[in-house]
Assembly symmetry: C2
DNA sequence: TCATGGGCTTGCAACGTTGCAAACTTGCTC
DNA sequence: GAGCAAGTTTGCAACGTTGCAAGCCCATGA
């Protein structure tokens, strides 16, 4: 067993409370006492028991970050920033992945299995929709990440997906492409991200006076490399294949890129490809990947700030905070 | 505040202890009592307070996984497996990243800032060596991951890096390459991984009757894509550049690949490239990346098992468990 | 000499849970 | 019908910490 306040107190010949005062740098402690206690603390290697402290204080200074998949680079990169910003505000972050499983998402967010363990939650939902989230019974503060439709009554950091998708699509149009495909639409009603990006895509194509050929709008089950690869194979098999593709994330785009090159299709000469997320992989692929780059550092910072403020007692109305994004045009659309 | 056992007990007209018995599925509880308590539990939305439970029981059923960088795909992929296996044994995993910072590594492992919070730690060290680890004061069980030299008196899951590096190098030699470079050596004595891979590389080259040209052994500060890209640029600038490169991980290899292609060097015709880790990126690059594939799922499983057994009271001598690896020959060495 | 006050130290209780062991209630056997 | 075992329920204490408020001590000034 690790030593406790009692052990230190006995050995130093003072009360438990005094040791606690020293450890917490409290109030008035005589220099001599402080020195003696500190020495014993060092001798015994005393460390405050986090669990007992949490119980007593009713807070743990731990935040949960709930993401669909940790090994999806976008979330891994985001996680780094969240951890950094949380640390700056004195919080430890625990990461949990849901695999987009509604049951698991519900378990973590809705009914508070972990309610007393974390002071707050940053949650990037996949399956749970606004309706689900509205009747949460747990009162642990939550900040939503990503693209979920609003009006949930929870703080929310997101980027404007319609505009961002339009930006990507217009970039392809401006390059003179006319037969533009999209990979990543999802039939599932709850997948807001995909729906919003499809909306932005459609708007941009239509506004440019082009037509959205239904066969060029490819649905995928997931947002993984394999899905992008498969979708691109289908597109290339068409009698009249596209001359540009907007992929709803970089993994899809990297899968699509791989398939295109394998089929001897030149990128961007024959088909231009643009992704979304600006993960590091895309900067080192050949050709390097054009993409929409959400400001991940800003997203993480805003989310942590919102949450930390709530925990500091901020009771104003929940807000919806937009995050910035930019177009990163690279070789997969511009060429070398 | 969330409801406690006391709240449920009062409302159900039973003692706190009985509610606890119901919640824990204990012993003999009359069906009628159980039903009533369960109803109140549902009504109030009672959830056991994890923190209080941990304090009382002296264990949290949480494991810490300490890795250098979460956004390095190898660790992200490994983390997924660790979380899965830990869940299967009833543990929750908390992930923490150290950025390879010795202070932070020490803080997490050595002096137990978090000692009472976690029942055990799975630790992938970068900076801390065997000597450091030997005089740990904390008694929380630890399983080491990766390539650290042994004799530390801690459980340890690793792959045989010398053999693995040799396997990669021989693959290049068998393809007829004679001027073979290596990227990823590190001057820092504590970086065992790099040293062992260099050793395996040297041995294989020498055994094949070839010479290790010192200029072809490139050191890097980190194991990131940018380091691989920079090292490859240096190699290509040589009067007599290599015809094959063994990179100590896949990120280095992907960076090197990018630089090679940018310089108009054909891979593998002009330079064959092989990496290490078998991260998903490498399967979708063009050309796809040959690599050494450690069995990550096995590594995670062994680590969790070792740790869980210790927590179940296993007091046998610490063991050193080897994990499997295979050669994955792909386009970056074989061509299309 | 005694009251005053500030610096310093302390005991008690409580956070929500569970181990322990006692106590109570049945129903059954002899 | 008494005794006993099994089934059921309970009170107490403790895990290690900190908020609260009281109490101690000594120096100062009247």
């Amino acid at each position: 067993m690790s030593p406790t306040l009692r052990d230190v107190a006995e050995r130093a010949g003072v009360s438990i409370r005094t040791v606690s005062n020293v450890v917490n740098g409290f109030a008035h402690v005589a220099p001599a006492t402080r020195a003696r206690v500190e020495q014993v603390v060092a001798e015994l290697g005393y460390r405050p028991n986090t669990v007992a402290r949490s119980l007593r204080q009713g807070r743990s200074r731990m935040l949960a970050l709930v993401v669909p998949e940790l090994d999806v680079p976008y979330f891994a990169e985001l996680t780094r920033f969240v951890i950094e910003h949380a640390a700056a505000r004195g919080y430890t972050v625990v990461v949990d992945q849901t695999d987009g499983d509604p049951t698991r998402e519900r378990e973590l967010i809705m009914n508070g299995t972990t309610a007393n363990l974390f002071d707050g939650v940053i949650f990037s939902p996949i399956a749970l929709g606004g309706a689900d989230l509205r009747d949460r019974t747990v009162t642990t503060p939550v900040v939503l990440l990503g693209e979920r439709a609003s009006a949930v009554g929870l703080d929310h950091v997101m980027i404007d997906n319609v505009t961002a998708a339009g930006l990507a699509t217009r970039h392809l149009i401006e390059l003179g492409r006319t037969r533009i495909a999209a990979i990543g639409d999802q039939n599932d009603e709850t997948r807001q991200t995909a729906r919003l990006r499809t909306l932005g895509f459609r708007q941009a194509v239509t506004e440019a006076g082009l037509r959205v050929d239904p066969v060029l709008l490819r649905s995928t089950s997931f947002f993984h490399r394999a899905d992008g690869a498969a979708a691109m194979a289908e597109l290339l098999a068409l009698a009249d294949p596209p001359d540009a593709v907007f992929c709803y994330n970089d993994l899809l785009a990297l899968g699509a890129l791989r398939t295109a090159l394998q089929h001897g299709v030149r990128v961007p000469e024959d088909i231009a490809i643009i992704g979304f997320d600006d993960i590091e992989d895309g900067r080192y692929s050949t050709p390097s990947l054009s993409t929409i780059s959400p400001d991940k550092e800003q997203i993480a910072r805003l989310a942590v700030e919102l949450l930390a403020n709530r925990l500091d007692g901020d009771t104003t109305e929940p807000v919806e905070v937009p995050a910035d994004f930019t177009l990163q045009a690279r070789e997969s659309t511009l060429g070398r």
